[in-house]
């Protein structure tokens, strides 16, 4: 995929997911990844067995996203527990700590603890992206944790300086993003949900995102926020040096007001179906939302998505939500 929305004519409203996809299968189907991790814990399966099970899950979730009508897909974070620990485990300078609530969800992650200099030790997500790209027929987007979110979800016992710590993480993420681009990844997304709870970090985020995206001149860069109230950041959010922004327009409807201020030339990934509740949105309601957004930012700059990663939903509900999203986008485009 070329740089969508950058000068070329793109027909129709594009659809995508934010990142994660439910790991459990439909009712009654075997849950191979879960069983394999249990077996690995008991010593009756190997790391290679787990990788095979995860490969199979990646194929499955990509096929499902494509069948549902997504124009850009992800690997569903099928190999990850959350957006930070896979990277923290791979970098120098981190240990993995105790369980903590992930934002305001009944979902918990293990908190990275920085105990030394943060350093790049080779790519974390590139092999996974390549595998997904070989599997998919649609473009595959890579998702990285944003540096501010990474720092805020961790404990800094080494730098004891939020800015220094955040920028050290940003330098490692810059290397990861560069490697993804070199592998051919067309879209690199940085997730910055923590920024919504920390508007005071906006200036730091500008620096840190600047560092993380410095070498990215071919891939499209996205900065995505979710869960909180983006209106709190105001239009300053759009001064972050990326090609597009993702907003959760469901968790705090006030965030919609920000869409009126998206600068010309900037893409919007608008989260319009609730990825944290099973209630299915009527297609007509989604059509109305898309039409309004298209009239504000222009259809050529608009991508629609769920409000956040889909892992908060059971598989069948996540799939049904994507089908409705695609149906609504198609209606508007027709």
């Amino acid at each position: 995929m070329d740089r969508a929305g950058r000068g070329e004519v793109t027909m129709g409203i594009r659809t995508t997911v934010v990142g994660s996809y439910p790991k459990p299968p439909d009712e009654g189907a075997p849950f191979t990844v879960r069983k394999t991790i249990h077996a690995l814990d008991k010593g009756t399966a190997t790391e290679a067995d787990l990788r095979r099970a995860q490969d199979e899950l990646v194929r499955e979730v990509i096929a499902e996203q494509e069948a549902a009508g997504m124009d850009v897909v992800t690997d569903g974070h099928a190999r990850w527990d959350d957006i930070v620990t896979p990277f923290a485990r791979h970098m120098a300078g981190f240990e993995i700590g105790g369980l903590l609530r992930f934002f305001d969800n009944n979902v918990y992650y293990r908190r990275p603890v920085c105990t030394g200099e943060v350093e790049w030790r080779g790519p974390t997500s590139v092999a996974g992206w390549k595998f997904a790209a070989e599997t998919a027929t649609k473009p595959v987007k890579a998702v990285l944790p944003g540096p501010v979110t990474f720092a805020r979800l961790s404990i800094d016992d080494h730098y004891r300086d939020h800015e220094k710590f955040t920028l050290a993480v940003a330098r490692v993420l810059a290397q990861e993003a560069f490697e993804l681009q070199a592998a051919g990844c067309p879209i690199v997304q940085f997730d910055e949900p923590a920024l919504l709870d920390a508007p005071e970090d906006l200036e730091l985020a500008k620096k840190a995102i600047g560092v993380a995206t410095k070498e990215i001149d071919e891939a499209v860069t996205l900065l995505v926020t979710y869960f909180g109230d983006a209106k709190r950041l105001g239009t300053e959010l759009f001064s972050l040096p990326v090609d597009g922004f993702g907003l959760d327009l469901v968790s705090h409807v006030e965030s919609i007001e920000l869409t009126r201020s998206v600068p010309v030339g900037i893409n919007l990934q608008a989260g319009i179906v609730d990825a944290r509740n099973t209630k299915l949105e009527p297609v007509d309601q989604l059509v109305a939302a898309i039409e309004e957004l298209a009239s504000v930012v222009g259809p050529e700059r608009l991508t629609v998505s769920p409000s956040c990663g889909l892992e908060f939903l059971p598989r069948d509900k996540a799939r049904a939500k994507l089908q409705r999203l695609a149906a609504a986008a198609q209606k508007v485009s027709a």
Binding site: P22, K23, P24, E27, F31, R34, I37, H38, D41, D81, G98, L99, L100, R101, D104, N106, V107, Y108, Y109, R110, N277, T278, K279, E311, F312, L313, P314, R315, D316, K317
Partner: protein, 328 residues
């Protein structure tokens, strides 16, 4: 001012937060029941046996306020969702790591057709002279840990759930429960909804004369305190061991005005806390809260530990409390 509690002794009473690990024979039987290899009655007999064993163990320590150990409950929200009209058990979602749960869905007006916990409470109380705590999940937590397809707002769902839990609490009280715990682990999730937690708890506890307790965990306590003290219960039960008693610094600024449930052993750690370490934690806390307003217990439910680990932790709590009581 907080009312006094109807228990013998100078204070430092021992109790538990709620759940205990299920012995292997119950875990196996629950699996067989799920696969329809055994019937409900056969499972229930084994759950009763395990309940009896846990009560005997608590009495052997002894324990001042006993729990039934929740041998018959899987998940603390799903247990109620299975029994209450308006709530259905939904599909699998991940909680953390490789752990998944069936997240309930509110699909209609929430109500209650019959008491949900009273029969088990009566059974447990018939086995011991010590008071058995009634154990309920709070309305805010049931809402927060469920999907909502029916109600226009979270508040509407929480307030309906509050009436259901109040009716259950009243039935427990009528059956003879003098201690009723209404768990709200989710209370510390969103500071902007703490008022809703308080409003809902008021509905639950207003008509009760029993000693009421709420347990809160995984939280942003620094922000939730001291407002947390406005939750209308006699006692708040909190985790101390897993944060090395960091909350005490907060109590130094704003006095803790209720009975405390002092969590003194980490439930997510295999390591057994030594008696002296637990005793020191109790001594540190006594600088802020007097003995006659202090219950001592584990940080949280012990269900994720092995049976032997849980028993050893409870034995050490008993020994530490006896040690400190001698110093009073």
């Amino acid at each position: 001012m907080t009312k006094s509690v109807d228990l013998p002794g100078p204070g430092l009473w021992t109790t538990s937060v709620g759940s205990f690990p299920k012995p292997d024979y119950v875990v196996e039987a629950r699996g067989k029941y799920a696969r329809k290899e055994i019937g409900r009655d056969e499972l229930k007999e084994l759950e009763k046996r395990a309940t009896r064993e846990w009560i005997e163990f608590q009495d052997s320590l002894p324990t001042d306020v006993v729990v039934d150990g929740e041998m018959y409950r899987g998940d603390m929200v799903a247990f109620f969702a299975e029994e209450l009209p308006g709530l259905e058990i939904g599909g699998l979602v991940r909680s953390y790591g490789n752990r998944y749960y069936r997240k309930p869905i509110a699909t209609g007006p929430v109500g209650r057709e019959h008491p949900v916990t009273v029969e088990w409470w009566e059974y447990a109380q018939s086995l011991t002279e010590k008071p058995v705590k009634g154990m309920l999940t709070g309305p805010y937590t049931i809402c927060d840990w469920s999907f909502n397809e029916h109600y226009d707002t979270r508040r509407d769902l929480v307030l309906d759930l509050a009436k259901v839990i109040r009716d259950e609490a009243l039935d427990l009280e009528r059956a003879g429960a003098r201690f009723i715990q209404i768990d709200e682990p989710a209370a510390s999730t969103r500071m902007d909804e703490l008022d809703l937690v308080i409003e809902a708890m008021h509905i639950v506890t207003e008509p009760l004369s029993a000693h009421t307790v709420t347990h809160i965990c995984y939280g942003d306590f620094q922000n939730a305190y001291p407002k947390m003290l406005d939750i209308p219960v006699d006692q708040i039960d909190l985790e101390f061991a897993n944060s090395d008693y960091a909350l005490l610094d907060v109590f130094a600024e704003h006095p803790f005005t209720k009975f405390i449930g002092l969590g003194v052993v980490d439930v997510h750690n295999h390591a057994l806390e030594p008696v002296e370490e637990i005793a020191e934690g109790i001594r540190r806390t006594l600088k802020y809260i007097p003995a006659d307003r202090m219950f001592v217990d584990p940080d949280c439910g012990l269900k994720t530990r092995k049976v032997e680990e849980a028993k050893k932790k409870l034995e050490n709590i008993r020994a530490a409390v006896d040690l400190v009581k001698d110093e009073l």
